[in-house]
């Protein structure tokens, strides 16, 4: 079964959108899969959220509607031929909106809430307060699943430096984060601030959130705020800016007279700013005994308390300690447990592993692409592991229909097929990857602090999106004894790992990459049973980024060269002189433009410069003197070519193993590698069989060195490659899988 979620309008940063993304992360951890659907959405989120018109359900699926305002989704939910549930975020009180355009929507929302009650099997309140309201509206099976924040996203390292610099001040600073709408009582915030100004004339009030000018009085308040000294309306801000605002605050203040939960209260706690909040609706419950709540609005008295809370170090420290305790006690794990209990009330459980022990474990291999002629480091790695493990395991490859790694377009038929005797189950990708859009989004997001929805939106756009795979894992993982997944980066792996958790061995093939900074990848490294990494450098990188990662083991691959004939390659491609060989995808991301420029400089600097030979699928047009582009070559041709090369070249800075380097070493060929990759540098330093270039690629000196010392380097290369035998690799995989099967 799938658990889909409906959100009336999906906009990153909105509470319901954030909740839906968080719920989906929890569902994955519970071994359940589902998609997000909305009526309307922010442009650029089409990979993450689909139009509700495309929703197709099966009878045992569960669809959860996030309900916070009157929406046409309520009517749609009632007529879905599957199980139904409501996640109630509460509705703003009518008394604040009489005579405004919001009134009919709020009224409709209340009527829809009662109207759905007899037709749904599950009511989820995001607070006990909301759950009580669900019961009053006639819901029977009601559970509370509190919203949560991920505290690490509000740490001091997530502050936007420009905003922090702009807000730096020693003055007492009140912070408020909410839309300026009637029930948030912005006028009370201003009243409090005016009282604080009487005590601290330099005090500031920073307000984050859009001003909803649809409501006449709000406009007047905005004008009043702009006249009041020390008030700054910051509007909508990015996540890093939000953290900077919180962390610039002396006290976080909420004067709201209605909160169904109050996520900003938790965000303030995670940002180490003491909270002073009017205990309306669910606020006291969200505070959970932390911070400072109050039940009457006496502004002069509250101003005294706000100043004391912001300036008395003892009081502040005590409150902050309590707030941290509150966050630890009721974090994502708590919500996961509650959601699990709610779903269990419908008989929904994670599929159990097979009871009967088989002689040979049945193993699913999860990889983004698979098949003959598919090049790519991780894909080749997966194919090699499949070939080596076939005598020991009953294998089935779970993959996409794509052959092209840029678009993930469905080129191969979905369903069961066989590749070299191995059963392969292919799942279609409903949405090709729009590279221009992805690149633009990457430029906008990389290097900046982000919230989960922004990260997951990027991950979804990166693809390949394989809802069929996730449904297969959620429903039929019990047919497998274990799984091995390749490449942390793609959602085909990233969203599969939590689904099967400790029954997964992950081969992360991690390297320095901007996306590795995303916290959303933490569960990919923390939840598998073990990580099988390629090099000590990769392990160090993972440990630095995700210190709580699963147990890891350096395994890598084996290299087993066939008999080679360098002359055969020279004759086939008419290469009379020395040449440098690159084998792999010929594209910008692999450092090819830099390599070409360096080769041009080498030709200018030396008379007997070797030619540069590029072998592999090319996605760029190359016309340069002394450069031969061979296109895709056969396996034997690759080995022959490597054996005859003066050196193999590894220009990419992003390598987790560099199979090319190991293959070159195994036939005694030195390597010229990009020293910016710690992995390549590690190979070269440990082997002594080549040279690393750093910064702007300079081939003049390294090529000269290889020409002078090739014989000694060749011996060193063979010695180093001898340590990469397949026997050790196969034993490691078998040990890990057997231990997994034994552990049950």
């Amino acid at each position: 079964m799938a658990v889909h979620q409906l959100v009336p309008h999906f906009r990153i940063g909105d509470a319901t959108a954030q909740a839906a993304v968080h719920f989906r992360a929890l569902l994955r951890r519970l071994g359940l899969w589902g998609s997000l659907y909305s009526v309307s959405q922010e442009p650029g989120t089409e990979a993450l959220v689909q139009p509700v018109g495309t929703l197709r359900v099966q009878p045992d699926d569960l669809v959860l509607l996030h309900h916070a305002i009157g929406s046409r989704l309520a009517a749609r939910l009632l007529h879905l031929p599957c199980r139904r549930g409501v996640v109630f975020h509460n509705l703003s009180p009518l008394r604040f909106y009489r005579g405004t355009p919001l009134e009919p929507l709020l009224l409709a929302g209340r009527a829809q809430l009662s109207g759905m009650a007899p037709h749904v099997e599950l009511g989820i309140g995001v607070s006990e307060f909301n759950s009580a309201e669900l019961r009053r509206a006639g819901y029977r099976n009601v559970h509370t699943v509190p919203l949560f924040v991920e505290p690490e996203r509000f740490g001091p390292d997530r502050v936007d430096p420009a905003m922090a610099a702009r807000l730096r001040s020693s003055a007492l600073t009140l912070v408020s984060v909410s839309r300026v709408v009637p029930h948030k009582r912005f006028e009370d915030l201003l009243a409090l601030h005016r009282e604080v100004l009487r005590l601290r004339p330099d005090a500031r009030l920073l307000v984050v959130g859009g001003v909803d000018r649809l409501f006449g009085p709000v406009r007047l308040l905005e004008a009043e705020a702009l006249r009041t000294p020390g008030v700054t309306l910051l509007g909508r801000v990015s996540h890093g800016e939000l953290v900077a605002v919180y962390r610039s605050g002396s006290v976080f203040v909420s004067m709201s007279e209605h909160e169904g939960f109050g996520v900003p209260l938790l965000e303030a706690m995670a940002s180490d700013v003491p909270v002073l909040a009017y205990a309306a609706a669910a606020v006291a419950e969200t505070l959970g005994g932390a911070g400072m709540g109050f039940d009457e609005k006496r502004f002069a008295l509250l101003a005294e308390l706000a100043v004391q809370l912001g300036t008395d170090p003892t009081l502040r420290a005590r409150v902050l300690t309590g707030q941290r305790r509150r966050l630890e006690a009721d974090g994502p794990e708590h919500s996961e447990e509650r959601l699990g209990a709610a779903l269990e009330s419908l008989g929904v459980r994670r599929p159990s592993r097979p009871r009967a022990r088989r002689r040979r474990p049945r193993v699913g291999i999860v990889v983004q692409r698979y098949g003959p002629g598919i090049t790519g480091g991780a894909e080749a790695h997966a194919a090699q592991i499949v070939a080596r493990m076939l005598p020991h395991w009953d294998l089935r490859v779970l993959t996409s229909c794509a052959t092209d790694h840029l678009t993930w377009a469905n080129a191969l038929p979905p369903g069961e097929s066989t590749v070299d005797g191995v059963p392969v189950l292919r799942f279609p990708n409903p949405r090709p990857r729009p590279m221009l859009e992805l690149n633009a989004l990457s430029r906008r997001l990389f290097g900046r602090p982000l919230d989960r929805a922004e990260e997951e939106n990027w991950m979804a756009l990166q693809g390949p999106l394989l809802p069929g795979l996730w449904r297969h894992l959620a429903e039929r993982s019990g047919e497998y004894d274990g799984f091995v997944a390749f490449t942390y980066l793609y959602v085909s792996t990233a969203w599969s790992v939590p689904l099967v958790g400790h029954r997964m061995l992950l081969v992360p093939t991690a390297h320095e990459d901007e996306a590795l900074a995303f916290d959303s990848y933490a569960e990919v490294f923390e939840r598998p049973r073990a990580l099988l990494v390629n090099t000590p450098e990769e392990l160090e990188l993972i440990h630095r980024r995700f210190p709580k990662h699963a147990r890891a083991r350096v395994v890598g691959v084996g290299v087993d060269p066939p008999a080679v004939q360098a002359e055969r390659f020279r004759a086939r491609f008419e290469l009379p002189g020395d040449y440098l060989l690159y084998v792999g995808r010929v594209e910008r991301g692999k450092g090819i433009p830099e390599l070409l420029a360096a080769h041009a400089r080498l030709r200018q600097a030396t008379a007997n410069a070797p030619s540069l030979v590029l072998a592999g699928e090319a996605s760029m047009d190359i016309r340069a003197e002394g450069v031969r582009v061979l296109g895709r070559i056969g396996e034997q041709e690759k080995w022959d070519g490597l054996a005859g090369a003066l050196a193999a070249v590894v220009p990419s800075a992003k390598e987790s193993l560099s199979l090319l380097a190991l293959e070159a070493f195994s036939v005694g060929t030195p390597v010229l590698g990009n020293g910016a990759s710690t992995v390549v540098r590690g190979h070269l330093e440990r082997s002594g069989a080549g040279a690393a270039f750093t910064g702007e690629i300079d081939l003049v000196e390294p090529v000269g060195r290889v020409q002078r010392e090739r014989r000694a380097m060749s011996r060193a290369a063979r010695r180093y490659a001898a340590g990469y035998g397949w026997g050790r690799v196969v034993d490691a995989y078998r040990e890990e899988m057997d231990a997994m099967v034994r552990a049950g």
Binding site: L91, P93, L94, R95, G99, T100, P101, P104, L107, A108, R110, A111, Q112, L113, S114, G115, E133, R136, A137, G138, D188, A191, D212, R213, L214, R219, E257, A279, A280, A284, L287, G289, A290, G291, M292, G293, F294, D295, E296, K297, R298, F299, A300, L301, E304, L305, Q308, L315, R318, V319, T321, G322
Partner: protein, 150 residues
Amino acid sequence: MKLLGRDIDGRSLLQAARQRLEARGIREDARAVDEEPEPVLEPLSFLVRSLEDNEDPTVGLPIATHRTGLGRGVVAAKWIFRRTCQLFINEALGRQRLFNGQVRDLSAQLAAEVVRLRARVEALEAEKAQAERAPRLAAPRKPRKGKARR
């Protein structure tokens, strides 16, 4: 006023703050907060009433804008349009008005029928439950044979 929080001594914090206020010569009352409970709406009645309220398409919705400047001009233009063109609006939407009235009547009829049937089903279920309970209550207990259990 009460202060909530496990990590604070609310009473002494309040007392100290009050003393500081007194020293400044300030006395204040709490701002009254309206805490009207939110209604639970019976959806069928609500929808029938909403249909009644909105059945006439010739009556415009309240004119509002969240924009300043040009937005106010748009509001004025809408107001002028309604004042000057109401005759034509009525003409264009005459049949819609009739249709809406029929939908309202139909919905009211169906809603009333649903309410009646729901009540009937509830009554029948209650009768059935009572009938099932009655024989169980009336069943005579057979005397236990053999050794008495302590």
